[in-house]
Amino acid sequence: MSLDKDMVRRIAHLARIRVADDELEPVARDLERILGFVEQLNAVDTEGVEPMTSAVAMTLRQRPDVVTDGDRREEVLANAPDRAGAFFAVPTVVE
């Protein structure tokens, strides 16, 4: 498995995490090492095995259609780094 700097840049952007240029190389080496480690799974025969989704053998429980929440604007906004009145505020989104 080889992972180049462009790939790290691409993944980092997908994950919205800044990785400085001089870190791309060491990060690539780390990720390569991990990917190399997990690749031993290729040797496992999983023919006909269904992927496991959950450790609990249950199906989804449903709740009744009742309004039980809301009207807690101050709690919702209390930790906001930036707000404008009743809104969260973020730097301009360039469409």
Binding site: R16, Q62, D65, V66, D69, R73, L77, F87, A89
Partner: protein, 484 residues
């Protein structure tokens, strides 16, 4: 429908992804309200705001509505379905992912029949329906440097209904949305309100030479009226044909419809490197439906527009056109059925009154039928007065105008204005005599063979009696008198 280009004919290929807001009290995975128009960020639970450690629990009503819709679309219900996370960053998407269904949706393939303007019908296949969360709202125009975020809508349940690329003209696309909307509204699973964005469509458009394989498609996002859907398709198809005829190639991309300019334009920023990294949401388990419950829902399905139209034609002898008009909106059909009162009232007369008289008057003020100042019961009483000979059909229209204006009952208006039909032979004879006395020359004319004047005499007598003369009696008596 073929489009004539510079170099020959083209055919458009259209598929729609309709996002329909599920009618429910609470959101898909939280207990916050779905009501429209709340103060910003007041209908937000800690789950909707994606606070750390918050977990989703599914709303049973949203599941029911999706299954009901699937049944209404003649679609396969998947007894096991899975919720996936669609990962992307956007400030109105608090979790950083949308909970949706990717590989195993709750509803599979189905089909609906669309009604085209020329009276023909066409099947359009449904590929799938899945449940997903709506995003919040970004307000870009409140501040020059900042975007404001309101999460009231975040987490509201949507049904994404995906058609196969079976449509070939803007008319067909419009008919598809119209029919889909009608079905949803009949089922009560979505209110179909396009102005509030509760029903919106992504339109996939491509063009090809007739008989050739599909061309490259562009997706026009979030078109929120049927008129705009037509405009967007027409503009986009023409744009693609121009590119192809100039020897270019259409690029697969997401585009936005600008309603003011009537154009579509590229949304490149949304396009960049999308990789949604779908995977099953580990906070949720597979959704498994009880087949008996699904069958119960199937049995409880209301009569849908196509079946209702057939019944109106079969049982009430209505024309295909009249029946289609009456079933197009759930409320109109309900009004009509209430009006005929199980067939007690003349179905054809009632159909005419709804389609011509009631619609004509409501359209003038843009009033929806469910807010009509004259309810089905009140209009029924008016029709009864016609039927039992109390008033003439002509008087009835004037009475109806007054009913629309004042909301008063037909009987009261007839009583107060003295509009009861004149069935007294003496009174009618007197009115005829007055008209004949004043027009000896016309009598001579008539007797000389100009029988067309009969209508003129009838009109004169009607005017003299304020339209109240019993038409049958008037005709018979007049004919007698004119004979001399």
């Amino acid at each position: 429908m073929l489009i004539r280009g510079e170099t020959g004919d083209w055919e458009m290929v259209l598929g729609l992804e309709v996002h329909a807001q599920v009618t429910s009290q609470a959101k898909l995975f939280s207990g916050a309200s779905t009501a429209f128009g709340g103060e910003p960020n007041t209908q937000v639970s800690l789950i909707d705001a994606a606070m750390p450690g918050m977990l989703p629990v599914i709303n049973e009503m949203c599941v029911r509505q999706a299954v009901l819709t699937g049944l209404g679309l003649n679609a396969r219900i998947n007894l096991t379905s899975v919720f996936d996370r669609k990962n992307y960053f956007y400030p109105d998407l608090p979790q950083g992912y949308q909970i949706s269904q990717y590989t195993q949706p709750i509803v599979g393939a189905g089909v609906i029949t669309i009604d085209l303007p020329d009276g023909s019908t066409k099947p359009v296949r449904i590929a799938r329906l899945h449940l997903e969360q709506d995003a919040g709202k970004s307000l870009h125009d409140q501040d020059p440097h900042r975007t404001f975020i309101d999460l009231n809508r975040a987490g509201v349940a949507l049904m994404e209904i995906v058609s196969e690329p079976d449509m070939r003209s803007p008319d067909e696309a419009a008919a598809y949305v119209t029919k889909l909307r009608a079905i949803l509204r009949y089922l009560g699973t979505c209110d179909g309100n396009m102005e509030q964005g509760n029903l919106r469509a992504d339109v996939n458009v491509s063009v090809r030479r007739p008989g050739e394989p599909f061309g490259t498609r562009c997706e026009i996002k979030n078109v929120n009226s049927i008129r705009f859907i037509r405009q967007a398709i027409e503009y986009e198809a023409r744009r693609q044909i121009e590119i192809l005829e100039d020897g270019g190639t259409v690029e697969q991309e997401t585009r936005l419809f600008d309603a003011r300019k009537g154009e579509t334009r590229s949304m490149r920023s949304k396009e960049e490197a999308h990789d949604y990294r779908y995977f099953p949401d580990p906070d949720l388990l597979p959704l498994v439906l009880d087949p008996d419950w699904v069958e119960e829902l199937r049995r409880s399905l209301p009569e849908l527009p196509d079946a209702k139209r057939e019944r109106f034609m079969r049982d009430f002898g209505l024309s295909a056109y009249d029946a289609s008009v009456l079933v197009a909106e759930k409320e109109t059909a309900a009004y009509y059925e209430s009006l005929i009162d199980g067939g007690r009232r003349d179905p054809k007369l009632a159909a005419n009154w709804v389609i011509s008289e009631l619609y004509g008057r409501l359209n003038r003020t843009g009033t929806p039928i469910e807010q009509s100042p004259v309810g089905a019961g009140a209009l029924g009483e008016l029709l009864d007065l016609i039927a039992d000979g109390t008033i003439t059909a002509r008087t009835a229209k004037d009475v109806f105008d007054t009913m629309i204006e004042t909301g008063r009952s037909a009987a009261a208006i007839v009583e107060e204005k003295g509009l009861k039909q004149i069935t007294d032979t003496a009174a009618i004879e007197a009115a005829i005599a007055a008209v004949l006395d004043a027009n000896p020359d016309k009598i001579a004319d008539y007797r000389a063979g100009n029988e067309k004047l009969m209508g003129w005499f009838v009109g004169q007598v009607m005017r003299a009696t304020g339209g109240k003369a019993n038409p049958k009696l008037l005709n018979e008596t007049l004919r007698e008198k004119l004979k001399g």
